[in-house]
């Protein structure tokens, strides 16, 4: 029974080790939560220069505080999933690494930003929308126009994400204008516009 004897002899040390671990755990948790908090809004995301058009257009949008009550959705409210905490952290880490990689190893000015906007379903999460718009299902029942598409959405008759119907309407008001202003000669217009001005 050597093991029990060792436990008995070192009981004070083990007690303080346990207490220390608890304190350290709490501290780490608080720091992590604080770090997550600090790295989720437009002040942090806007630190990268390339985010200027996104931040500018966001400030002019209802979701960016330009509304009559001054409420504001943070970047991560829409751009990270909110279905569970693990998914949230995994996605945050992956997207964070992608942002660092894109900003350091590549030239983000050369990206096709307009084309990327068309793929918004990959980086705007329905669970984010629904965390604030909690009463959407009921609220759209009596609105004749909104009823049909939202009924299909909640009845899972469609695989569309929120942002696919509300593309260009939500989050960043007139983002295209801000992109053009910021990227200048690097701006790639929607290629459709090119097709439509060139001759067959």
């Amino acid at each position: 029974m050597g093991f029990l004897r060792v436990l008995q002899e070192k009981r004070f040390f083990l007690f303080w080790l346990f207490c220390g671990g608890c304190v350290l755990g709490v501290v780490l948790t608080v720091v992590t939560v604080q770090a997550v908090e600090w790295t989720g809004d437009d002040k942090f995301c806007g630190m990268c220069h390339i985010m200027t058009p996104e931040v500018d257009s966001y400030h002019l949008d209802k979701h960016g505080g330009h509304n009559h009550v001054g409420m504001k959705a943070e970047c991560v409210d829409c751009h990270l999933p909110h279905d569970n905490i693990i998914h949230y952290f995994v996605e945050k880490t992956l997207l964070g690494m992608e942002d660092v990689y894109g900003n350091t190893m590549k030239n983000p000015r050369k990206f096709d930003w307009e084309m990327n906007r068309r793929e918004a379903r990959d980086y705007v999460f329905d669970s984010g929308c629904l965390r604030c718009h909690t009463n959407l299902k009921d609220a759209t029942q009596s609105n004749m126009k909104a009823f049909l598409p939202h009924r299909d959405y909640f009845a899972k008759l469609t695989k569309k994400h929120c942002v696919e119907c509300h593309l260009d309407e939500v989050g960043h008001k007139n983002l295209g204008i801000h992109l053009r202003k910021f990227l200048k000669q690097d701006y790639k217009p929607t290629v459709r516009a090119l097709i439509s001005t060139s001759h067959n």
Partner: protein, 457 residues
């Protein structure tokens, strides 16, 4: 005397007063539809939405009248819900919108329709219909025919044949001027494959005409007839020639075309229209806007092949790759041509027994395979002539190539489409009879060219 004079004067006075004060408002005598009354809307709509309706009721009363009759109006979907765009939209009208601050575009793409009618638009984008506009411009020989041959490459007039002809059914690739309003060369069009500057392809208004967007209308053969007619694919003539069309023409006016979506079935009608066979739901297939889904064969190409291609690709190519492609002419049922045929037959069973259906399709298929025999013989002769440089450079003035073109593009399509849609006159007199005449003519030219080793004058 005096009394009659007074009566006469009173009568003249009345006439004068009436002409000076013509009756106003609702019940004018000589104007059955009085558009003088200002339209007011009293629904729970935004002030801007009401503004559009009330102003356009004065300016384009026909548009608003259409909308008033539509289900959209019942559901509270108004002008602004489809025509308003964000200020960074590639389709935003830049020179303003008189009397309103709402940014708009005259163009409404299927992206907008898909916000509420997603299923319909997705199915439609899987169908051959979406290929309409892009494939025309993707093919060098078609561009050549429209612009160079028919348009004479005239510096100013060369796009007239495409704008007034081809594009009205096929659709155009819409181009915008500096105010981002559509150009006369590319708009207006009701064409079904119209490609919009926002990347979406297709036009719901081709069959559900604007601004009523009627379900009833699209269920009637007239919706298809405005394009599926004429020498190359006389589908409405074929329908009229068939017993189905016979019954429709005799009593279709009394049928019910207004059943709720997905419920239209016998006894709403006594014979099918185009929509019944190609779109309506049956025991094997859901109601679908993919009109290629129930087709076993391709019946417009020079050689009829089985439709093994799955879904149409032209829409995705345009939307995601920015490419104008010829699409997927063998688009059909993703489960293959036999599944397509089974889904088609599942509609017939409502009115016909199995033997009737099976026997009919056996012979219709043989008719298609017979056409292929004619075409293969023609190709063999053409290849031989090409090898010996005995084909004219301009196919439109070369007798051999011209006859061969008509053999597939006109007569051959009539033979095949007439056969599979039960139109005896088109299968025979306008079809195979002409095809056999063509092959005899081709053989004659072929023999002569080989013998003389030159192209005849």
């Amino acid at each position: 005397m005096r009394a009659s004079l007074a009566g006469f004067l009173a009568f003249v006075f009345c006439l004068g007063w009436l002409s000076a004060h013509p009756p106003r408002g609702g019940t004018s005598i000589d104007n059955a539809m009085d558009t003088q009354l200002p339209l007011k809307t009293f629904r729970g709509m935004k002030a801007e939405a009401k503004g559009c309706i009330e102003c356009h009721a004065k300016k384009n009363p026909g548009i608003v009248a259409d909308w008033k009759m539509s289900r959209h109006a019942h559901a509270g979907v108004s002008c602004i819900d489809c025509h308003a765009v964000s200020k960074d939209s590639p389709m935003l009208t830049r020179d303003g919108h008189e009397g309103s601050k709402v940014p708009i575009s005259v163009l409404v793409s299927t992206n907008t329709c898909a916000k509420c009618h997603e299923k319909e638009v997705t199915e439609f984008r899987h169908s051959g219909h979406v290929r309409g506009a892009v494939q025309v411009w993707a093919k060098a020989n078609m561009r050549d025919l429209m612009v160079m041959v028919e348009g004479r490459n005239h510096p100013d007039l060369k796009y007239a044949p495409a704008a007034t002809g081809c594009q009205q059914c096929h659709g155009s690739i819409i181009k915008l001027d500096k105010n981002r309003r559509p150009t006369p060369e590319t708009w207006p069009t009701y064409g079904i494959g119209t490609a919009f500057p926002d990347g979406s392809v297709g036009n719901c208004a081709s069959c559900h005409s604007a601004h009523k967007f009627s379900l009833e209308e699209a269920r009637k053969p007239a919706a298809c007839a405005s394009c599926h007619l004429g020498p190359d694919h006389p589908d409405i003539e074929i329908y009229n020639n068939s017993m189905h069309g016979h019954v429709f023409n005799a009593e279709g006016a009394k049928w019910n075309f207004d059943a709720a979506p997905g419920t239209w079935k016998v006894p709403d009608f006594r014979a099918p229209t185009c929509a019944t066979c190609h779109m309506s739901g049956n025991t094997k297939s859901m109601v679908t806007h993919n009109v290629s889904r129930r087709l076993k064969w391709n019946l417009f190409m020079p050689l009829s092949k089985l439709r093994t291609g799955g879904y149409e690709t032209a829409s995705d190519d345009f939307k995601y790759e920015n490419k104008i492609t010829i699409g997927n002419p063998l688009a059909g049922n993703p489960k293959g041509p036999e599944a397509a045929r089974a889904e088609m037959k599942a509609g017939c069973i409502d009115c016909h027994n199995k033997q009737h259906i099976d026997n009919f399709f056996v012979m219709a298929d043989k008719n298609i395979m017979l056409y292929n025999e004619y075409w293969k013989e023609a190709v063999k002769m053409k290849d031989e002539l090409a090898k010996k440089h005995l084909l004219g450079k301009d196919m439109w003035s070369d007798d051999f190539q011209n006859t061969m073109y008509h053999m597939w593009h006109h007569e051959g399509r009539r033979m095949r489409q007439g056969g599979i849609m039960a139109a005896p006159d088109y299968s025979h007199w306008h079809g195979v009879f002409e095809v056999q005449q063509d092959i005899r003519k081709l053989r004659k030219i072929y023999a002569k060219r080989l013998k003389t080793n030159k192209i005849e004058d």
